[in-house]
C-alpha cells in the first residue's frame, strides 16, 4: 500500500479526533448518558415505590388479619364468659332457691312442730278440762256416798305412791 503522507493522516486524525471527542462529549455523550441515567433512576424509583406499596399492602393485609383474629378471639372469649356467667347465674339461683326452700321447709316444720305442740297442749288442756269435768262429775256423784269417797282417797293415795 502507498503511504501518501503519514504526517498528514497523523496530524488530521489527531486534530479531528480530539475536536470530535470534545464536541461529542459536550453535546452528545453527557446529555445522552445523563438522560439514560436519570431515566434508569426514575424507573428504579418507580419500581422501588411499587415494591414499597406492595409491602405496605401486605402489612395492611396482615394487620387486617391480625385484627380479625383478635376480634374473633375476643368474641370467643366474650361468648365463653357469657356462657360461664349464665351457668353461674343458674347454679347460684339454684343454690339460692335450694337454701330458700330449705329455710321455708324448716320454718314450716317449725311451724308444724309449734302448731303440733300448741295442738297437743290444747288437747291436753281440753283432755285435762274434760278429765276435770268428768272427775268433778264423778266426784260429785261419788262424794255422795261415803264409802266411795274413802275408796277414792285410798286409790289416789296409792297413785301418788306409785308416782
Amino acid at each position: 500500500m502507498n503511504f501518501t503522507a503519514p504526517e498528514s493522516l497523523i496530524f488530521w486524525t489527531t486534530l479531528i479526533f480530539i475536536v470530535f471527542f470534545f464536541l461529542l462529549k459536550k453535546f452528545a455523550w453527557k446529555p445522552i448518558l445523563g438522560a439514560v441515567k436519570s431515566r434508569e433512576e426514575s424507573i428504579n424509583n418507580a419500581l422501588e415505590s411499587a415494591e414499597n406499596a406492595k409491602k405496605e399492602m401486605q402489612n395492611l393485609q396482615a394487620d387486617n388479619d391480625k385484627l380479625l383474629k383478635e376480634a374473633r378471639a375476643e368474641r370467643e372469649a366474650m361468648l365463653k364468659e357469657a356462657r360461664e356467667i349464665k351457668e353461674k347465674m343458674i347454679s347460684d339461683s339454684k343454690e339460692l332457691a335450694q337454701a330458700e326452700g330449705d329455710k321455708i321447709i324448716i320454718k314450716a316444720q317449725e311451724a308444724i312442730e309449734s302448731e303440733k305442740k300448741a295442738a297437743l297442749a290444747d288437747i291436753k288442756n281440753q283432755v285435762g278440762n274434760l278429765s276435770v269435768e268428768i272427775a268433778e262429775k264423778v266426784i260429785k256423784e261419788q262424794l255422795s256416798d261415803k264409802d266411795k269417797q274413802l275408796k277414792l282417797v285410798e286409790s289416789l293415795l296409792g297413785d301418788i305412791k306409785l308416782n
Binding site: T4, A5, P6, L9, W29, V36
Partner: protein, 361 residues
C-alpha cells in the same frame, strides 16, 4: 414494512452485485486495453490514500473530486487544488506553485529538482529531504471528516430528543441508545468497574462509533465512501496511541508499582521489569495492528475476488466473483462491528487494568 424490507434487501443485493462494475469503472477499465491488468496496483490504489477522490471514469477521462493539497515547503505554507496534477502519478507533470516546482509519483509529492536525482530505493513517503511536509486533506481525511460530521449530527439529534421528553426512546434514539448502553454495560462497566467507568465513557463511545462508522464507510463501494481509513496504519496508530496515553495518564500507583516492582523474587527483576515495560507498549501496538490488518485484509480479499474477472478476462467469472464478493461484504459488515467492539473492549480492558484497585497480597 415487509415490502420496504424486501426492497431494501433487493437494493443491497444489487449494490453488491454491481460492485464489480463500479470497480471496473474505477479502474479505468476499457479505455486502456493494451495495458496489462495489474491486480496489485489496483488493490494498492484502493486501500491506499490519494490527493483526489476518484469517482469514476467517463469516456476515458477520470472524474474526480479534487481535494486541497496543503504543503509545508521550504517557501512556507502552500495550498492548491489537487486538480493541478492532472491525475499524474508518475512524476512527469511538474506543478509550479508558490515558487516551488513539485511532482507527484505514486501519490507522494516531491520537489521536482530533488525527485529527478532520486534512485528507486530513495523514493518513498519517509524521504523527508526530497519532499515537502504534506498536510493535505486527502481522501482518507475527507472521509474521516464526513464520518465525524455524520456521527455528530446523529448523536446531537439523539441528545436533543432526550431534552424534549424523558419517556422511553423511540426513532433514532431508540436505535442508538441500545448501542450506547451496550458500550456502557458490556464494555465499560465489566472492564473498568462500576465506580470509575463514567470518566472513560465518552472516550469509549467515541472510538466505538468512530471506528464502526469508518469501517462501514470503507465497505460502501462508491463516492463519497469506499476509503480504507480504518485499514490505514497511521490512523490506527493515532487511535491506539490515544488509548496508550489515557492508560498511562490514568494509571494509579498500583499499576506502576506492578510494572516496576512486580511481585516476583528480586532475582527475576532483570527479566521481569523489561518485560513489563515492553508490555506497556505491546498492548496498544497490538490494538493498532489488529484493526489495521483486519480491515485491510477484508478490503484486499474483496478487491482480489473482483480482480479475478480481469485476470481471467471472462465475463463468466463475474457471477462467481459477485457471489463471493457478496458473501465477503456481508462478512465484512460483521467484521466492521466486531473490530470496533474489540478495539473498544481492549481499550477499556487496558484502562481498567491501569485504574484497578488491587487488594494487597
Amino acid at each position: 414494512m415487509v415490502i420496504a424490507q424486501k426492497s431494501m434487501k433487493l437494493i443491497a443485493v444489487l449494490i453488491f452485485a454491481f460492485f464489480p462494475l463500479i470497480v471496473l469503472a474505477d479502474n479505468g477499465g476499457g479505455h486502456d486495453d493494451e495495458k496489462e491488468f495489474n491486480a496489485s496496483e489496483l488493490i494498492n490504489g484502493h486501500i491506499g490514500d490519494s490527493h483526489e477522490f476518484h469517482i469514476a471514469d467517463w469516456d476515458g477521462h477520470p472524474i474526480s473530486f479534487y481535494l486541497p493539497v496543503i504543503l509545508w515547503t521550504d517557501n512556507g505554507l502552500t495550498v492548491f487544488s489537487s486538480e493541478k496534477f492532472h491525475h499524474d502519478n508518475s512524476g512527469e507533470h511538474v506543478v509550479e506553485v508558490n515558487g516551488e516546482k513539485l511532482v507527484r509519483e505514486n501519490e507522494i509529492i516531491y520537489y521536482a529538482d530533488k525527485y529527478s536525482k532520486l534512485s528507486e530505493d530513495e523514493k518513498g513517503a519517509f524521504n523527508f529531504d526530497a519532499r515537502p511536509l504534506d498536510f493535505s486533506i486527502t481522501k482518507l481525511v475527507f472521509s474521516m471528516l464526513l464520518s465525524v460530521l455524520l456521527l455528530f449530527i446523529l448523536f446531537t439529534a439523539v441528545a436533543r430528543s432526550y431534552k424534549k421528553s424523558d419517556k422511553a426512546p423511540k426513532g433514532l434514539a431508540g436505535f442508538l441508545e441500545p448501542l450506547v448502553l451496550f458500550v456502557r454495560d458490556d464494555i465499560a462497566i465489566p472492564n473498568i468497574g462500576e465506580k470509575k467507568h463514567a470518566k472513560f465513557m465518552p472516550y469509549l463511545l467515541t472510538i466505538f462509533f468512530f471506528i464502526w462508522v469508518n469501517n462501514i464507510f470503507g465497505l460502501i463501494p462508491f463516492f463519497p465512501f469506499s476509503s480504507n481509513l480504518t485499514g490505514n496504519i497511521f490512523f490506527t496508530f493515532v487511535l491506539s496511541f490515544i488509548t496508550f496515553a489515557i492508560t498511562c495518564f490514568s494509571g494509579n500507583k498500583d499499576y506502576w508499582k506492578h510494572i516496576l516492582t512486580p511481585p516476583v523474587p528480586k532475582a527475576l527483576y532483570p527479566i521481569m521489569v523489561p518485560i513489563e515495560i515492553i508490555g506497556i507498549f505491546t498492548k496498544p501496538f497490538a490494538l493498532m495492528i489488529r484493526l489495521f490488518a483486519n480491515i485491510t485484509a477484508g478490503h484486499i480479499i474483496i478487491l482480489s475476488l473482483i480482480s479475478l474477472i480481469f485476470i481471467f478476462k471472462s465475463i463468466f467469472i463475474a457471477p462467481v466473483s459477485g457471489a463471493f464478493v457478496l458473501f465477503m461484504s456481508v462478512l465484512e459488515m460483521l467484521v466492521a462491528a466486531l473490530q470496533a467492539y474489540v478495539f473498544t473492549l481492549l481499550s477499556a480492558l487496558f484502562i481498567g487494568q491501569a485504574v484497578a484497585e488491587h487488594d494487597h497480597h
